[in-house]
């Protein structure tokens, strides 16, 4: 499971003309092809299309060899603003299972996926996790006055996110009964890993002085993170990045930084750093300095093939960045995750 990225499919791009001819062929023999595809469906690994990297990582960890996972929204892609390419559409069309985050994280694609289910089984992971919660209080609402908008950035709280493993396992087991035992074992192993990660994150963040526990980022992606690890969070933009930041947003954030004596603020990898830089400049004008503490992975994970391209590595990066910038001390890496660290040559 530690070499999970290797399984993200690389598609070969043939000559355009070949593709044009192939397309014509594809249209003319369309329905016989469908019948063919259905015939050998049960023997192949389950073709899963996941929307975000976080969701894909979960499915890869739990599904193991039973699944063949493609993530649509790679590193640096803001899910709120994602645009599909033809290849993505093709992959969605061939998928046996579509796993997405839900709660409107994926913008247009999410609202479409909410409505479907006939053609392909779908799983809204964050929404499924929410359904397992005993208390509604653990869910965070959007700041909007409209009812029913839930903050979709659930993965910020590692313990919450870990609950998804069993949901994913159950879904895969439903579709591939032969894999049922395998995925359940993998799920419980992954849950244990995430529990260790959560404990490490708690220990690390606890070292941040009480006065420094303010996390300011480009947009409101860290509410669950803040609730789980004891930070007051503020984003310049709202939960969705679709509306542009206003002058008042910048000013209020700058005022907050000055009042709370915040020593570092953070950019996000999927969002232009300009708003954070504007806050920094405004703070400087108010007579104090605020550092830019580094780039956090808010809505997407890091580049494939790097440690930050996995969920564990992404959380590790975020915690280390926040804790270091805000004057805390990072806790020792847990033994339960030493295998992961070795795989990525991290010690």
């Amino acid at each position: 499971m530690h070499h999970s990225n290797a399984r993200v499919r690389h598609h070969v791009t043939p000559h355009p003309l070949v593709r044009v001819l192939a397309f014509v062929l594809f249209v003319t023999v369309a329905w016989s092809a469908t019948a063919q595809a259905q015939a050998d469906a049960t023997t192949q690994p389950l073709a899963v299309v996941a929307t975000t990297g976080m969701v894909a990582d979960m499915v890869i960890e739990v599904g193991g060899p039973c699944v063949d996972v493609v993530a649509l929204m790679g590193p640096g892609i803001d899910p709120h603003l994602y645009r599909a390419s033809a290849g993505d559409v093709d992959r969605l069309g061939r998928a046996d299972l579509i796993v997405y985050n839900g709660f409107n994280l994926e913008g247009q694609l999410g609202s479409v996926l909410d409505a479907v289910g006939r053609r392909t089984p779908t799983l809204a992971l964050a929404e499924a996790i929410a359904a397992t919660l005993v208390s509604e209080d653990q869910l965070l609402e959007g700041e909007d006055e409209f009812e029913g908008s839930t903050d979709p950035h659930l993965w910020g709280a590692v313990d919450l996110w870990g609950r998804g493993a069993d949901v994913v396992a159950a879904t895969i087991a439903d579709l591939r009964p032969a894999c049922a035992d395998d995925v359940r074992t993998r799920a419980s192993a992954y849950v244990a890993e995430l529990a260790a990660l959560h404990a490490w994150a708690l220990a690390s963040t606890a070292s941040v002085p009480e006065a420094e526990r303010v996390l300011i980022t480009s947009h409101d992606a860290f509410a669950y993170f803040g609730a789980a690890y004891g930070f007051d969070v503020a984003g310049i933009e709202g939960i969705s990045t679709e509306s542009e930041a206003s002058i008042a947003d910048i000013r209020e954030t700058a005022d907050l930084v000055v009042e709370a004596g915040v020593r570092a603020i953070f950019i996000e990898t999927t969002i232009s750093p300009r708003t954070i830089e504007a806050v920094q400049a405004a703070v400087r004008d108010r007579g104090t300095e605020v550092a830019i503490g580094g780039a956090l992975f808010g809505d997407a994970m890091g580049e494939a093939g790097t440690a930050e391209g996995t969920f564990v590595g992404m959380v590790r990066h975020n915690v280390v960045t926040v804790v270091t910038a805000l004057g805390g001390q990072v806790a020792p890496w847990p033994d339960a995750l030493s295998g992961w660290a070795e795989a990525w040559n991290l010690r």
Binding site: A245, I247, T275, A282
Partner: protein, 385 residues
């Protein structure tokens, strides 16, 4: 007062100054585009920036402002060239050429965006902000870029003022004077593209169109000379920027770009309504006065003709008959004419209704109305016994 207090805030000041710079430059260059009836070129240039932004990013490999602006400028210039090529060498008309150029460049831009999304990894994040505007995120460094680029284009306008002016008013005449008209047109197009490109990150594509058009259109209503129009457009543009920034700063959640555009549009509406001679309000009053005097003149003439028909210049016409002759009620018109001493009431038997007689002044004026160019005096008088 409260708005002024806002100005002391750093962010508000930065955005307001930036918006004022963009507004002023857009106003000046928009004036030329408006007069040359090339105003929608701004629309095309704004949309055509998208592939340039993507290519600038691809080539430079980073989100640095300069290469991206350069890319946007180049693709804008190419789009303008396409418009020129289509209109000059085929029978395609300007509007279609603009639309073709706009939509094709933008379509290619979206293709490039998805390509970058797949192939450029994390580095491409936030590229759309260049297109959809992020006024609030201006920092002093941006102001320097805006001031340098804007100042340079204004300098070009000032230095080439005479050439620009004569080309704008009459390109054929300019050509006959031996001016390099094609070069001047090219420079003007590049300047507009430049204004659009520096404004894009401030207000976004669609709203940049408004900033090119609105201040110029508002200024056009007031000014009689090109000089005045250009200066006024710059003032309107800058004022839209400042007021828009202040208003958007005073309410949370109001994006700056759209507010600036609405302020600029308000300048247009007010100018359309109030500007002397060109203003709608002025025109309405003028039209009303025209219609009123027209009615009065026609009643006078009708009275005069009825008198002539009866061979009696002091003939008293009954009001009901005048109504029929005129084709509508004439009472209020007659009363107004009476106040001006052009007609007077004749006392007849009460049950027959009011009768009206032309006074001496009234007769003179009616005769004048019937003989607008003098030559027919003799004819009319000759017919009068």
């Amino acid at each position: 007062m409260e708005l002024l207090a806002l100005f002391s805030d750093f962010t508000v000041r930065t955005v307001a100054i930036g918006a004022a710079l963009v507004g002023a430059v857009a106003g000046v260059l928009g004036s030329f585009a408006l007069l040359r009836q090339q105003i929608l070129l701004g629309d095309t240039l704004s949309h055509a920036a998208l592939p340039g932004i993507c290519l600038g990013f691809l080539i430079a490999g980073s989100r640095r402002l300069e290469p991206i602006l350069a890319g946007a400028l180049v693709s804008g210039a190419l789009a303008a060239l396409l418009v020129l090529l289509l209109t000059r060498t085929t029978r395609i008309k300007t509007d279609a050429a603009l639309g073709v150029s706009l939509s094709l460049f933008f379509a290619f831009g979206t293709v490039l965006l998805t390509y970058l999304q797949r192939h450029a990894g994390a580095a491409q994040a936030g590229l759309d902000a260049f297109l959809f505007g992020q006024a609030a995120a201006l920092v002093p460094r941006d102001l320097v870029v805006l001031a340098v680029v804007g100042g340079a284009s204004l300098l070009v306008v000032v230095l080439g003022w005479k050439e620009l002016k004569v080309t704008t008013f009459d390109a054929d005449f300019a050509r006959s004077l031996g001016r390099p008209v094609v070069l001047i047109e090219f420079v003007l197009t590049v300047l507009i593209a430049l204004a659009v490109v520096i404004g894009l990150q401030l207000v976004g594509v669609i709203l940049m169109v408004a900033l090119v058009i609105a201040p110029a259109a508002a200024a056009r209503q007031w000014a009689r000379r090109l000089e005045g129009m250009v200066v006024l457009a710059a003032v309107f543009g800058a004022a839209s920027g400042v007021v828009g920034a202040l208003v958007s700063a005073s309410y949370r959640g109001l994006s700056t770009g759209p507010v600036i555009v609405l302020v600029a549009s308000a300048f247009v509406v007010v100018s359309l309504l109030l500007a002397p001679e060109r203003g709608v309000a002025w025109q309405l009053m003028h039209a009303l006065a025209q219609r009123r005097s027209l009615r009065a003149h026609r009643v006078l003439v009708d009275l005069y003709r009825l008198a002539q028909d009866h061979d009696d210049l002091d003939y008293a016409s009954e009001q009901g008959m005048l109504d029929a002759y005129f084709g509508g009620p004439t009472g209020h018109v007659l009363r107004r004419l009476e106040r001006r001493g052009l007609v007077s009431r004749a006392q007849h038997m009460p049950e027959e209704g009011t009768h009206w007689i032309l006074t001496g002044d009234g007769r003179r004026q009616a005769r004048e109305l019937l003989t607008p160019f003098g030559e027919r005096d003799a004819a009319v008088d000759g017919a009068t016994p």
